[in-house]
Amino acid sequence: MDLSAINPVLLIASLMVAATPLLLAAIGELVVERAGVLNLGVEGMMIIGAIAGFAIAVETTSPMVGLVAAMIAGAVLSLLFAFLTQFALANQVASGLALTLFGLGLSALMGQSYVGIKPPAMAKLDIPVLSDIPVLGPILFSHDPVLYIGISLTAAVWWFLKKSRGGLILRAVGESHDAAHALGYNVIRVRILAIMFGGACAGLGGAYISLIRVPQWTEGMTAGVGWIALALVVFASWKPWRVLLGAYLFGGINVLQLNLQAAGIAIPVEYLAMSPYLITILVLVIMSADKSGAPASLGRTFHASQ
């Protein structure tokens, strides 16, 4: 075992890369849940985003176009969920599961001809002077643009929920859809918009994995990141900045266990690979005691007649 092979600067830099898909998916789901909707289809929307982004990026040779396509794909898939839960009044848990099962199948079907292809590379944001600073440069200033989008999105969502009128309406819908309806707000429309935002974010997160983090397409490559994102929202008590913190924590654990695998530590690879999932459970147990942050209408179906 050679722990000195692990470079702390590179570790932190790759931690930020590993955390970004989680952050994107979780911040989207946070908005959805604040509107009172529990969408368990994050994993499905991510994997659809991953393949749609990958395919479009390969066909157009532009990773940027791919990322936009991934967002659209995620949002379109989330519309299916929106239709089921908001118009057909179906159970949200079952509909979310259906979305994930469908997304995993569809992505495998779409991705058949893209296995083993290398996608066009995403240019890193190389800021001339700043990225040459010894330690801070590689950590803070030489990443791909999406990573910064993720962080600014967190700030934007925080501002929207906390400071804007739209955010107030969204939270009202999530806390008590009957009261919001009585005040004249269109509960269904607010929820559909939130669901689509969540879908676009999950799609972007998925494409980040297939285009930037890995970059390659393999079947089922999101490997539970969407589910960890759902857990992350609980961990964060539905607060945006805590999502960022949690995503970096999970990213750190994942990068660390990969580094330990590479360094040849005495623990078998399989046990290291299960650590992110076990830690997710542990975190859920610790955070579940406090449910005060949960939106009061979370997971309840709204129909104006009731």
């Binding site: 599961l97 058949q112 399989e270 999932y277 859920l284």
Partner: protein, 359 residues
Amino acid sequence: MIALEKRPTPSRALSLATPLIAVAITMIMGGLLFSVLGKNPFEAIRTIFWDPVLGEFAFYYRPQLLVKAAPLVLIAIGLSLGFKAGIWNIGAEGQYIMGAICGAAVGLAVYPTETRLIFPLMIVAGALGGWAWGMIPALLKVRFGTNEILVSLMLVYVADQLLASMSLGLLRNPEGMGFPGSRNFSDYPAANSWINEAAGLHWGMAFAFIAVIFSYFLLNRHILGFNIRLTGEAPRAARFAGVNPTRLVLFCLGTSGALAGLAGLFEVSGPSGQVNIDFASGYGFTAIIVAFLGRLHPVGILLAALLMALTYVGGDLAQGNLGLPSAAIQVFQGMLLFFLLALDLLTNYRVVFKKKGAA
């Protein structure tokens, strides 16, 4: 203007008809999907749904239907108990893997002893393995209020890694020349789940039938089943009636875990034959579709599992004969659940045409 009016009670006729309508719509949409993929839709549908049952070589495929349906029935029966009470175990895949590992480990530990006691012991170990894996989310839920959906799902990934570790390490065949995977149970008659391999009959089928009957009586004739249904339909009323939610969570997750574990054990000691990296085949997730398609009713689940087994067997056939990608079947199964959930609206609500402004 079209409006929805909640029915006082769900329509019984529609509740029986919607699965059939959903299957019909899925076939039409699936046909469209197949034609987009460049296959003749009618030939594809016939290959998937007709040939394995009534086609020329059906004698070969019918046993396979039973082999695929048995684990689906076992798992889905367990899941349906929880789903009825609003307890969502979606980690059946993990419980299935753990049942297989534990059951197989007992059998392999005493290899090559030949006594009649081995297989019953393996069954107990398989059920216990799945039960224990299901009890983790159950205990965390009742003790700490942890979400059972996320915990049970995380445990699938953990079980997957354990499976890899077992087939490369502890349970690896010592005479396997370094290949991953355990000894094959087909060389070990005392620990084999086949009753009649040619007819596709193994002990999993027998247990599936017992589970169906057991669950039917539980839900319709026993106070525990009544409590499960009551909790799902009116949680507040259930609490006033003195239903103990803790016991219900432990019972539902434990039972579904044990049944999934049994499914894993019968699979590993029969059709699959050995503990190996690629043993997990997604039955635990497909069983969720089976449970919903069967309307969470024991007999419905039996029929739904046969239909879903048909899509597996027919899908394989279509893959071989028509070059239909196997992922297309997965999409097909996912679509089925979508249509089913969407059509459920008609069971619980009435569509009425109103004049505008007459509210």
